[in-house]
Symmetry: D2
Subunit: 305 residues, 4 copies
């Protein structure tokens, strides 16, 4: 298997040149554009890896998955469903989901920035520091890695250049959907996006989602099945931004990408996969990462369709 992965990485490395590093914050432009790595944990517990699989990068939008999970754990499906919709918006990640002059809950989506920012407000905690600590703790637990930290430089950079997210948060506030102080809410959001992970961490998180809430090698469920199903379904329809439809055709598994270059995939009943390659297509998805995942899916018959 690792031989296969090495070979696929060799084949896909060329695609790293087809994308661009994220440049909306300066910090992300410092990544090495040639990197490509993968880590897989199959449901029988076996682990496979290749390439730059232990390189650290920021989780970025993949954190939307964790924020949604934590909000579901804290408030339940009914309340979350009353605050955000789950339909694909047909729009980019930072879309202004305002139709005419109306903003309706059902037009928000937890996989799009406005909805994800709202998730921060629904997580338990007396302060936004406490809320973030719970997000970080959940990330560590799902990844089975107590050493996970935020990347302080990326966090400061996000905070400094976060005008679009500030605009989105103030829009939520102006429509009465967000009560708390915008800067505090965004601080939690920016920190969550700045969590530093490896392909292995993402593979572990994907494993839990793929295996109905179970951790590798353990019996008890850390996440109830109803929540993993909820999250996997949203990942399938909306996890790759406005490239989700194409991704469903070509890869066919629930997955979430981040502009840090990561992709976390949850192959139901089969495996969790973490991928890293920092050059992005215009939709904000890792170019070589998607290509690699497509080949892995085809070779191992992973598509659920």
């Amino acid at each position: 298997m690792e031989e296969l992965l090495e070979q696929l990485i060799d084949e896909c490395k060329i695609y790293t040149k087809d994308g661009e590093l994220a440049n909306y914050i300066p910090e992300l432009t410092k990544a090495d554009p040639n990197m490509l790595g993968v880590y897989m944990i199959s449901s029988d517990g076996k682990q496979y890896s290749a390439g730059d699989c232990m390189h650290q990068f920021t989780i970025q939008s993949i954190a939307k998955t964790i924020l949604l999970l934590q909000a579901l754990l804290d408030k339940g499906i009914e309340e979350i469903s009353s605050k955000v919709g789950v339909e694909a918006t047909g729009k980019p990640f930072d879309a202004i989901n305002v139709s005419g002059q109306k903003l309706a809950s059902k037009n928000l989506n937890p996989m799009v920035n406005m909805g994800a920012i709202l998730m921060c407000t629904l997580i338990d905690g007396d302060t936004y520091d406490e809320k973030f600590e719970r997000v970080l703790a959940l990330t560590r637990e799902l990844a089975g890695n107590p050493d996970i930290q935020i990347d302080e430089d990326v966090y400061q950079s996000e905070k400094k250049y976060g005008s679009k997210n500030r605009a989105l948060a103030y829009l939520l506030k102006s429509y009465g959907m967000l009560e708390d102080d915008v800067e505090e809410v965004l601080d939690c959001y920016f920190k969550s996006c700045s969590i530093s992970v490896t392909c292995k961490d993402l593979a572990n998180i994907g494993f839990v989602l793929a295996n109905r809430g179970q951790m590798p090698g353990r019996k008890e469920r850390v996440i109830p099945v109803k929540y993993t199903r909820y999250v996997n379904a949203i990942l399938m329809t909306c996890g790759m931004y406005d490239g989700s439809g194409e991704f469903a055709l070509r890869v066919g598994v629930p997955a979430k990408s981040g502009v840090g270059g990561g992709i976390m995939a949850a192959v139901p009943t089969k495996m969790g996969i973490g991928i890293y390659s920092p050059t992005l297509d215009e939709k904000g998805n890792s170019v070589a990462g998607i290509r690699l995942l497509e080949r892995i899916s085809n070779q191992l018959y992973l598509s659920i369709f």
Copy 2:
């Protein structure tokens, strides 16, 4: 199993009152709003049914699945992909997919009217009559039912009241995406939507999609795997109009609905399902039909997530 289906139908019958019959063409308002039926064909060939499963109704938008399949069979994935996109539009079935004053191929979707009308032009055939005959023949083959016909009254009604579809077709023509005579193209489209089917027919079609192109009890594939995967993936992200995301959460299988009240579901590797109940929610999906499918999915663990 049939006992279970009968019981679920009893439980869901109440929901038929929560919807409205389609009223955009007079013919559809003549349906009996109390009907609810289901037909299932599992991959081992067993068949189960309950309720009004042999009632005939028009296939309506479920024909979009057949049109896409026929276009794929005739032109291949590459050409089809160059003519329509596959992203969820976040908009209703009859959306005008024009952004500003631009209309781009990638904004069309074969599960939304404009894209489906375009599929008619991509099907082989010297005339639009010939094209439609091929669509009808494929429907009969997939359904294993050589007696399938169009409902002449519905067809005439569609033709008479089809102003919105005429507008969409002329838009395609004005952007140079459709060369042929609009009325001829629409005639093929209206006829396809007017094909009369039963739950059993839909279950058979769903079976083929669920079983990688194989017919019940037969070995050879009538549809290549690459096309069933393509279609199933689009059904998952866009098959239930702008209710696809919610449907993925609650039911979790590729499916297509029609305003005639039908739902065709393809449960990968497991079964094909046909459902009928003609009262619709505001998105155009069968209210009781979705409820019934949700309960079946939960009882039989059909969700792929």
Copy 3:
């Protein structure tokens, strides 16, 4: 004065090279791109002209002014106001004025195609031939020119290549705003746009609008004041498509342009002006025509602001 006009034409001739001939119908590409002409009739009855002022060209969107006037004469302000709005749409001439999936009367505008097509249905007449004959008769009367005819080639070309207008008309029909046969309504619209005029004709029409309904040298009003005020106000806010705001700043008089290259201006209490130059900017307005009108306005202090 004519010396001044000759000089301004010399200065502005260079701008004819900055635009393109209308190409949405083949017939319009046959125009001579170098032409520039002007005709002015001041309220004391004096007439001045220069350049290609007697060249014939099709009236195109300037006909929207006549359609609105005839509809006002036939149905009155109250009924017209209930069928179309008067707000600038912020969109191009052929905009699809559908917000989300709704189409409201108030979003239509008689100076934008959808609203202008609707005007045809509000003009008195048993048939659409009769309606058009009334439009033609009004044009002849306002222009003081009984010889005005339609350009048959342009009319046939409009009819043949009118997919966008067909789409707009079928949209109106699908929303229940247009009852009659779309092709008949459009025939009246296409014929109206194909009326052949000269700068002198447009100057005469502008004169009537500028002088509260009076013809040059005559006392009686052919149009009631309330209707000329209504039309002039709409021309000011919407007459130059989505270039109306810029035109108000630079020229400052009510005016209407057509893609045939004509501009008809009504300078309240002062004069009517007709201009012709067929190369257009991207908004569909005559490039050299606007430049010439701007200089005339500045030299003669015509701006009403």
Copy 4:
């Protein structure tokens, strides 16, 4: 004349009941909903007034006129025109002028919040306090009233509840159109909107715009003609939000409204008018104020069309 005004006020008073007090900030709900006043200064220097013409209220969006004038005085037409467009947007006052994911200068308008906020950045001054002091000084000069101050309570209320404006400002920043600190820019904007005026003040400002930059009874121009023309033209096409087209038909003079209940009208060459009545229609314009202005315009033949 004053008798006429008293009579028209009596007639229009009833319309104060057809609107609602602005409620987006609590402070504005404290206004007396029954008030209606008017002040007129004709170009021969005569002054007429009736009703609650000396009541103080906040200038609100009428400040957009002053902000634009000051920006024009400081930077000139060319620079201002490169930063904002002048086309009607067809959208409400607080519209998000983002088309798709693009924000173009030409889509901004100085009479719509985003464009007006941008004007603050273009006014000379080392700090935003200095910029505001210049805005206040210009207001006092144009109004001929050195005692004009801001309403501190309204200002604090604006600042506290200004989420929508914060969102709009951060959007500008995220698109690179606004460099400075958002809170500082908004402080200038909120203060400008909180300037407290009377009908007389507005009539004086309108007088200057109507008389090509001259003050009542004085010869020198405080504003160059090119700027008063620029401002009057924008007021005509965009001054009454998305009710500008209707207002042009019914009243026919350049004017600007504010949600504080004021309307400032500039009747070219004839007079300046200030009106106050705080209950608003759904577009944010004073209901009774527009009715009163319409009757005055009809009685005195003020329409420029």
